[in-house]
Amino acid sequence: MKKYTRPLRMSKREKRDAWTFSAFVFPNFLLLGVFVFWPIVYSLYLSFFKWNMIAPRKTFIGMMNYVNMANDPVFWQVLRNTLVLAASTVFVKLAMALGLAVLLNRKIRAKDSYRAVLFSPTFTTSVAVAMVWGWIFDPNFGLLRVFINAVGLRSPNWLGDVSWALPAIIIVVIWSGVGYDMVIFMAGLNNIPTELYDAAKVDGATPWTCFWRITFPLLSPTTFFLTIVSVIGSLKAFDVIAIMTDGGPMNSTNVIVYYIYQNAFQWFKTGYASALALVLFVIIMTITLVQTRLARRWVHY
């Protein structure tokens, strides 16, 4: 194979292309720089200080914010909640979305209406979603109570009970995300050539075999994309929690992003909040890297 060597000087055309390229990427870089990279660097800097955002001077305290974090029982509880929320929402949500996508990809009546209904949480404001679910969960007047009573059980005090509040949040997060994932899965399904199914049918494959041998492997890039997006999304859950529970009762639904918000904007602990934000950043990056690694084993392009 011949090795390609670059001429030392760029031709006029190449120069012009380089400039055009820079011109087009510059606005993006500027925005990313100002709103993404600079905040990351500045958070890292702030995480070594004690600062309430009011005082004119910041006090350097070295690693103390990180030491305090390690000794903060709420931090560990919040971290556990965050991981529980991520793990339990992602799998259930993706499984449901895939099932729905396969169902609605068939020739059934009023398919579009079903799709629209299932997709509607995606374009509904999360604040409205959280408020309505807050009423549904109401142990005295809520809609859910009616169903629970119908099977002869007594409704738990969902949002007021330490052991029921997080499950309630998980239900809402799954409900609001399943429609979007379903649509992405449907797009993936449409990319699978129908000849494969025809050929399988000729060979006498059952729908079950078709699903596991054709649909699932060929959908794996979509599944992979949705897994990463869902994991990151659930690690960053905020709005539903802020509206429904304020992280309570007794921090049972407090997650890391909400805890960062509380520390920075309710309790004036900018340094500690920055340290927390950095920990979240490291967690998300690690999980995403691990997923990308693992993906080589099961994603077929």
């Binding site: 309430n52 309570g248 309710q266 309790w267 602990k269």
Partner: protein, 429 residues
């Protein structure tokens, strides 16, 4: 491809132009020409919000030296967040409606302008002594005055008078906490093993949970913390109050902890709730039954922590500070305060507004609203720990540990003392 060649500079120019344009918009007006424009950040919605707008309008119409622009910034907590952002960015308003506990926090680091020089220079006949001393007190930090009282409130007990009659209770609020417990028991209804109605609801909400608990501790003759930040939660009064609250929830099962007790009350799920003086208009107008407002129960004494908002100055230059001072005086003069009292139910904050003919006439017409005025004699400022960054939150968590977690009161108080001490050291050292 000329376009391509210039697109870089065009893009660059655009991106620089946008923020510059915004910047130019925000620069300060030249103070020497015409009236001084100042910005007022207000909070609160409904009648309490409208009343502030009306007073600003009246001030602007009444004189031509100062023009106030009123900007709504959300709830107390939202306003504080925006103020933090403003301080970090170097653009602050001139005057803010501040939740009273936060005066210390902002004054300590120089975000508020001291008012003492403006008070002593004032030749208009303004008298600081006109403000009710107990309400003026928490405008001070380190011997200097930083805020004047404006929309001040006390914690009250609201009860469903129809439910009281039906339960065979007298038409008056419980006088002591022991009686409160007794009344709660009589109001509770159990049908088929399920409690369908509780006597009372304690609030667990972020902004006020600590306030009513402070009231209970005061009633038992104790203190949450003193002026030197000594914490007294492990002493008998606080332990007794905590034990009574907890026993009502877990032993008697006649009370609940709720993050939205007023909704429970309006839905007739509970018979008694705590609320601010400022909730009076809202509860009276929305209830489908007869609501009465009363003092918070006493025990060994009648004493409540005073809450609500103050007006504080955030201006940094002299001309605007002088203009802001005129506005502060106007907002808290007898006519304005009397107007606030009549529209919102907040307390009169000065002797002159209390004796104002309109105020007097108003209370003669609506004697049931006079309870706040009567309670004014039994107020003291809130616990000093409230001014710590996380102070109110630590006390809210304490109430939550008692009423949701069911933890031993002595243990909860010990933990809370440790947390508050840590927070004090973090804030002041």
């Amino acid at each position: 491809m000329k376009v391509a060649r210039y697109s870089w500079s065009i893009a660059m120019a655009l991106f620089l132009a946008i923020p510059t344009a915004l910047w130019a918009n925000g620069t300060k007006e030249d103070a020497t020409q015409g009236p001084v424009k100042i910005v007022y950040w207000r909070s609160l919605t409904g009648v309490a919000g409208d009343a502030q707008e009306e007073l600003v309008k009246r001030f602007n119409a009444a004189q031509d030296k100062v023009i106030v622009e009123s900007q709504f910034q959300g709830a107390y907590a939202d306003l504080i967040q925006k103020l933090l952002a403003g301080l970090a960015a170097g653009t602050v308003p001139d005057v803010v409606l501040l939740d009273s506990p936060f005066v210390v926090l902002f004054a300590k680091d120089g975000a508020l302008a001291p008012l003492d020089a403006l008070v002593s220079k004032d030749k208009s006949g303004f008298k600081l002594a006109d403000y009710i001393p107990g309400l003026l007190q928490d405008g001070y930090y380190d011997g200097k005055l930083y805020a004047v009282p404006f929309m001040r409130s006390t914690p009250l007990l609201y009860y469903n008078a129809d439910m009281f009659r039906e339960a065979g209770l007298p038409d008056r609020a419980p006088k002591t906490w022991d009686e409160f417990r007794e009344f709660s028991r009589k109001l509770t209804l159990v049908t088929a093993g399920e409690t369908t109605r509780f006597g009372s609801a304690f609030t667990l909400s972020t902004s006020t949970a600590h306030w009513y608990f402070q009231g209970a501790v005061y009633a038992y003759g104790g203190l949450v913390s003193d002026d030197k930040f000594g914490i007294h939660l492990s002493e008998a009064p606080a332990i007794k109050a905590a034990t009574l609250w907890q026993d009502m929830v877990f032993k008697d099962k006649t009370a609940i902890g709720s993050t939205d007790p007023h909704t429970e009350f309006l839905n007739k799920r509970v018979g008694m709730v705590f609320g601010s003086t400022g909730s009076m208009g809202n509860l009276f107008s929305r209830a489908t039954f007869k609501v009465n407002a009363a003092f918070l129960p006493g025990q060994v004494k009648n004493l409540v922590p005073v809450g609500g908002a103050v007006l504080a100055m955030t201006s940094t230059d002299k001309v605007r500070q002088a203009a802001t001072w005129e506005f502060l005086k106007y907002m808290t003069n007898a006519d304005s305060v009397s107007y606030i009292v009549q529209t919102t139910g907040y307390m009169p904050v000065s002797t002159s507004s209390m004796n104002h003919p309109d105020t007097v006439a108003y209370f003669t017409k609506y004697p049931e609203r006079k309870v706040a005025l009567d309670q004014l004699k039994f107020t003291r400022p809130q616990a000093s720990v409230i001014s710590l960054g996380k102070g109110t939150e630590i006390l809210r968590q304490m109430v939550e540990k008692l009423l949701v977690g069911g933890m031993d009161p002595a243990k909860v108080m010990a933990e809370t003392t440790v947390d508050l001490t840590k927070e004090y050291n973090d804030t002041f050292k």
